[in-house]
């Protein structure tokens, strides 16, 4: 690349690198009192995933949440999800951090909020799902590829229990209903579980409302003003 071109493309280049590395774009720099955080691709946790995966790195997200919580200029967090799931403990860590923030957080599921994305979506004070967005609820599977992990049935069961308990205590869904969705047969071609689309997620009690960016921002502003 010619040097002058490089100079011209410097800004867009930085943006592109950030998209590749973190799956996040920078917001325009006019001061905003709301921070937007995107959780996209695979949620990367205890192991670095091979380069063909698009990932959200939890070790970067966690201190960002700390910064958002402690900065007096920031009044709220908009959490945008389009994730296929990922590391159980990294996902639960993000979900717990969001749920325990004193500042209002509103989540918006776009495209998909699958597997470990479900507890993250419900962790916010108020959650939205786009009309076309989907969420897959399924059991944590036994896979033989990761060697050295104690994947006994008991261990899987305990992991799953943590997810179920978190989702139930942070949304309107009951344990029975969530389990029923998780273990339903005949819905998914290659697995047991359920896919809920837009309004179905709201009807199940998982998500608070169907909506998009406008609704999510309006809700966040009203929560930031202390309204409910």
């Amino acid at each position: 690349m010619v040097f002058s071109e490089q100079q011209e493309n410097k800004d867009s280049g930085t943006n592109l690198e950030v998209i590749q590395g973190l799956g996040q774009t920078q917001l325009p720099s006019n001061e905003s009192n709301i921070h937007a955080m995107t959780i996209v691709g695979q949620i990367e946790g205890h192991m670095i995933l091979p380069p063909q995966n698009k990932t959200t790195k939890y070790e970067h997200i966690i201190p960002q949440l700390v910064a958002i919580e402690q900065d007096p200029k920031i009044q709220g967090l908009l959490l945008i999800l389009n994730t296929v799931g990922g590391d159980v403990e990294a996902g639960l860590a993000i979900a717990e951090m969001v749920a325990s923030m004193s500042k209002p957080a509103v989540s918006l599921v776009l495209g998909g909020g699958h597997s470990i994305g479900v507890p993250i979506a419900v962790a916010a004070k108020y959650s939205f799902i786009a009309e076309t967005a989907t969420m897959t609820i399924h059991p944590i599977r036994l896979t033989g590829l990761v060697i050295g992990v104690p994947q006994t049935f008991d261990y899987l069961d305990k992991m799953q229990e943590r997810v179920v308990r978190f989702v139930v205590s942070n949304s309107r869904i009951t344990t029975e209903r969530f389990r029923e969705l998780m273990f339903r047969t005949g819905e998914l071609a290659r697995d047991i579980g359920t896919v809920v689309v837009g309004k179905e997620a709201v009807n199940a009690g998982l998500i608070d409302s169907v909506g998009g960016l406008g609704e999510a921002l309006a809700k966040l502003r009203s929560l930031a003003r202390g309204e409910h």
Partner: protein, 65 residues
């Protein structure tokens, strides 16, 4: 442990291609970086105890320095 709709064999297909990372000092912070063929580094992880650093695009993962 992974909880995802993507099959593990697809996620881990190129596990042998995960490159080794270096740790460097950059503007007073420690960074875990991926060395690039042109001698630059791509940020993989920021090691800092100042949460504000994590909101700065300067140290954002993916950035080439």
């Amino acid at each position: 442990m992974l909880y995802t709709i993507i099959p593990e064999e697809i996620i881990l297909a190129e596990l042998d291609k995960v490159p080794p990372l270096h740790e460097i000092a950059y503007r007073g912070r420690r960074l875990r970086v991926l060395p690039l063929p042109d001698g630059k580094y791509q940020i993989v992880q920021l090691l800092s105890t100042n949460p504000r650093d994590f909101l700065s695009p300067e140290f954002s993962p993916g950035r080439v320095i």
